[in-house]
């Protein structure tokens, strides 16, 4: 028994190294196995990533440099046309209008989703358990409803002739809403679609943020209360730092989802009226699936990927540079 055995070590410090000689021997014996084993263990995951992600990506890239209409698809001829698909897409002024529209649309609904989710999450913390469960069940139901079902219901609500919204507004005294068409212009149509997407996206964000919130120790709020902090100060000093990483993450995910939103937009008015609610995802569908111009669609898909990479670049940078849980 030496005195050193009783020394308490600070938490998280490395335990004392094992005697040098045994370790060296082991290393010599198992050198090959030790070095190869980690890679072998990585192999299945790597193979899955290559097959499921890298391969399609490479395919899309390759297709975007080809003329691939139905003729080429059937005959199997490969026609390389260099950057023609990109040049055609980028030289179309409408493409830029649609890109700006998509970005504004995405930014608005992401902001609305995060704000709504945050407010609901904070609210849930202060609710009586019974009421909270009711709110949670409601949110889950909204979340669990299939996209197309919800879209149909929204179409009924906003219907020009028989919609309950116009009827209600009329009863409330706003008689100008009789026969009002919510889908008569692009911005108006996109607002309805935005509302629909936000309505479906808020539950997930709320639950994620609420999970972050219940991780904050009660004592911190008590301490803030003792120090005389008001609700806003408490939120800024205690709540926000705790849920900031998770907010960053759900924002990132929302950007990805909303930027690529298609089903709701197509189901409501197929990008109409007069192309007014067409976003990049709709253009992609029109070119690729409706028009059978797979090469041009590949170029648009690649451009969308670049735009997404640009707007989420900061997050990806943080993700690759920092350790787990350090996102802020």
């Amino acid at each position: 028994m030496t005195a050193t055995a009783n020394v308490t070590m600070p938490a998280g410090a490395t335990p004392p190294a094992s005697p040098r000689d045994t370790r060296a021997k082991k290393r010599r014996r198992g050198r090959f196995g030790d070095r190869v084993l980690p890679y072998l263990l990585l192999l299945p995951a790597l193979a899955a990533i290559l097959v499921l992600l890298a391969w399609p990506l490479v395919q899309v890239l390759a297709i975007s440099f080809r003329k691939l209409d139905i003729g080429q698809l059937v005959s199997g001829k490969t026609v390389w046309i260099g950057f023609d698909n990109y040049a055609n897409t980028l030289s179309d002024p409408e493409f830029w209008t649609i890109t700006v529209r998509t970005l504004v649309f995405t930014a608005s609904i992401v902001a609305a989703t995060i704000l709504g989710g945050l407010l609901l999450a904070v609210l849930m913390r202060h609710l009586d358990p019974v009421v909270r469960i009711i709110v949670q069940v409601t949110l889950v139901l909204a979340w669990a409803t299939p996209v197309i079902a919800t879209t149909t219901v929204f179409q009924w609500i906003f219907d020009q002739q028989y919609g309950i919204l116009n009827k209600t507004l009329d009863r409330l005294g706003f008689h100008s809403f009789i026969g009002f068409s919510w889908f008569s212009s692009g911005p108006s149509t996109l607002s309805v679609i935005g509302l629909l997407i936000v309505w479906q996206a808020v539950p997930f964000v709320t639950f994620s943020l609420y999970a972050g919130l219940i991780g904050v120790p009660r004592e911190q709020y008590e301490a803030a209360g003792i120090d005389g902090a008001g609700p806003w100060q408490t939120f800024r000093a205690v709540t926000w730092p705790a849920i900031r990483p998770i907010t960053t993450m759900v924002t990132f995910l929302s950007v990805l989802w909303d930027f690529n939103a298609f089903a709701q937009i197509w189901a409501i008015r197929e990008g109409g009226p007069d192309g007014g609610s067409t976003t990049l995802a709709v253009v992609l569908y029109l070119k690729g699936i409706a028009g059978n111009h797979f090469g041009a669609a590949g170029a648009i898909a690649t451009l969308m990927l670049i735009v997404l990479a640009l707007i989420t670049g900061r997050y990806i940078q943080l993700l690759t540079r920092t350790r787990e849980g350090d996102l802020a």
Binding site: L50, A54, W55, V58, Q59, L61, A62, I63, R66, D69, I70, G71, Q72, L73, V74, S75, G76, K77, T78, W80, Q160, Q161, S181, F183, S184, R269, E270, G271, G272, P273, D274, G275, T278, L286, I289, A290, G291, N292
Partner: protein
Amino acid sequence: MKRWLKLAAGAAALTLATAGCAGSSGTDTAASSSGAPAQLSGDVTVWLMTGSAPATLTDALNKEFEAAHPGVKVKYEIQQWDGIQQKLTTALASGAPPDVIEIGNTQTAAFASNDGVLTDLTADKDSFNGAQWLKGLADSGTYEGKIYGVPFYAANREVIYRKDMFEQAGITKTPTSNDEWVDAIGKLKTKFGSDPDFQALYMPGQNWYALLSFIWDNGGDIAQPDGKNFKATLDSAGAKAGLDFYKKLVDTSGTKAPKDADEAKPQQATVYGAGKVAMMIGLPWEVATAAKTDPSLTAKTGAFAIPSKTAGQSAPVFLGGSNLAIPANSKNVAAAKEYIKLLSSPKYQSQLAAAGVVPGTSTDLTGLDKDPMGSVMAKASTNGKAVPASPKWGDVESGQNPVKDMLTAYLTGKKTLDQATADANAALNKLIGG
């Protein structure tokens, strides 16, 4: 680590190289098939669309075909319209496509315009009863002088009306000119207008097939051939006059149909079935749909051809329908040709007519004449026309149709006649021109 990087780069390069030759097998299988071989063998896979031909017809046809060609087995499969273009694209690109396919006439050019997608049937026209082909359909199956699609059947729209309501409103004979038509609408409104739900004519804002009739009737067209391409002509005087007449019908009838939807949203037959609509522009079999709501409608309903601006004539109509084609990759072209030959024979064509459609390769319409709705359609079909046989027409129909946008913009007053037609013309040119 570096070695891994090199390996990954190598893999990427390899995938790039192989991506280029995806599906490069099985190209020239169907090129050589001349004459009628004495002995056919193997399977012949036939894809017809749902509702195209009654089961009694296809059962007899397949039985007769197999009896005549003992070596051949018919694999008959019924397809759904929903998503058929994608399904056909995938099937045609595969090494073993079906041998006989049915393609919607507006979609045929998209397939025919590409070399090596469909088999050239120009030399076989005579064996498919070529002398009696329905012109509007035959045009849609022809691309640059070569025949890729054999007319199968067609149908066209007519005005479906309530005989009892016409009688009560004092309309003794069905309208045969645009003026008489508008007159009839007025009389119906005078008689039944007190009912707020009554519509003299159900006219949704985007029934662009009806618009086609009016445009053609006024001497216009939506597009004209321009060398190898097409040039939109929606800003022509005839097109404007057609659009204006559409608006006149919508305005005078006071229809409550949505201005930003077509006749399928909601299904106009269902609206007609509710019994408050005196007329709609539709296909003969929509009456059966309406009768599901109210069976008494079958007896109360009649039909007349879409009137023309010239008294006594009827307006040209859009011929909707299908063509039959043989994929170029088909493994059994000879048997497929024999199958189409049998299907285009008068025996089976007259059965098609009896089933209520206009047969594609026979001028014998006696089967249709037995049915009052059918006979009206059959008569109008002789003046039938098709949409431009542009290979890019699929972009118009399955994408955002500028003609529909034009209708909504003009009917809702968002754009003037000149503005709406000019915008639609530019949009259509972008899709099918150049």
